[in-house]
């Protein structure tokens, strides 16, 4: 089998915050709503409970995020995606759902440092003062769609792989030393 490669090969930048492209990260889009076995099926894959509205439940390198009333994002190690899909299919059975491997359609960034929020403040119409820990916010980063949440003292940003270069450029520019907001 071919070796999985992340969008930018782990590019990084050190400005007033550290930007790192991480990955490849396994991701599954699960579309389902109000299913009996949903809670159990998700728990079996990520070890977390089903997140409430706009929340993300993190469990080590696995997580389950609320994307919309009928959509969840499952984050897990890249190699575990196929077994996870099989497990989801088995536990949800004939209940109406859709589970798709989107790992290779995404790019994931980590923004770390004391002023990490400032890098994103410049790019997204989000009030970072009211963004709670464990809240998954889908928004835009300049011109493209992105999802972000706080984790381990930094931010994780997810975007489409096709715009990974653009987003890396945005983050790099936003984190230029001397361009801090305070």
């Amino acid at each position: 089998m071919s070796e999985p490669v992340s969008a930018l090969g782990g590019a990084s930048f050190q400005g007033f915050a550290t930007i790192r492209e991480i990955g490849p990260v396994g991701m599954i889009t699960l579309r389902a709503k109000g299913l009996k076995s949903l809670e159990k099926a998700v728990k079996a894959v990520t070890g977390t409970k089903l997140p409430a509205q706009r929340r993300i439940e993190v469990n080590g390198d696995r997580a389950c995020g609320w994307m919309s009333p009928d959509e969840y994002l499952l984050v897990l190690p890249y190699g575990d995606v196929q077994p996870a899909l099989a497990s989801l299919g088995k536990s949800l059975g004939s209940e109406h759902h859709l589970a798709v491997d989107v790992s290779d359609a995404r790019a994931v960034f980590r923004i770390e440092g004391e002023k990490a929020a400032q890098v994103l403040r410049k790019l997204s119409p989000v009030d970072f003062d009211t963004l709670a820990p464990g809240e998954l916010r889908r928004t835009r980063a300049a011109q493209v769609a992105a999802a972000l949440w706080q984790q381990d003292g930094g931010f994780t940003v997810v975007c489409f792989r096709s715009v990974a270069g653009y987003v890396m450029g945005l983050l790099t520019h936003s984190a230029q030393p001397g361009s801090e907001l305070d």
């Binding site: 509205q53 706009r54 994307m67 919309s68 009333p69 959509e71 119409p125 009030d127 916010r137 889908r138 928004t139 835009r140 769609a145």
Partner: protein, 107 residues
């Protein structure tokens, strides 16, 4: 700047996170309708100065369509509500009537 609260995800979304869907609560005239009815459905819009019901899509967020009642003259937002309704909910109507006593209803 317009800020609308998405009724599906509760995000107070700024206008640039949303896509406009224009007038809400249109009655569709399809096959079997008269050319006049179809033309009116296709092209005629109220375009009021004042209370207006609109469709919006939270396109950079949860991706859902929702409806909003706002004033086109002052940009005052009376409320937002899910799209699975055929007419504005009573609480939104009450809010508009409280703020605009001379408002003549959405039809």
């Amino acid at each position: 700047m317009l800020i609308l609260e998405c009724p599906y995800c509760g995000v107070k979304a700024e206008e640039t996170e949303l896509s406009p869907g224009y007038e809400a609560h249109l009655k569709r005239f399809g096959p079997g309708s008269s050319p006049e009815e179809f033309e009116a459905y296709m092209f005629a819009r109220k375009n009021p100065k004042g209370v207006h019901f609109e469709r919006w899509r939270h396109s950079y967020g949860c991706g859902k369509w929702f409806l909003a009642a706002r004033c086109t003259a002052t940009l005052e937002v009376f409320g937002t509500y899910p799209a699975q309704v055929s007419e504005p909910p009573a609480d939104i109507i009450a809010k508009i009537q409280a703020r605009r006593p001379d408002w003549k209803g959405y039809k």
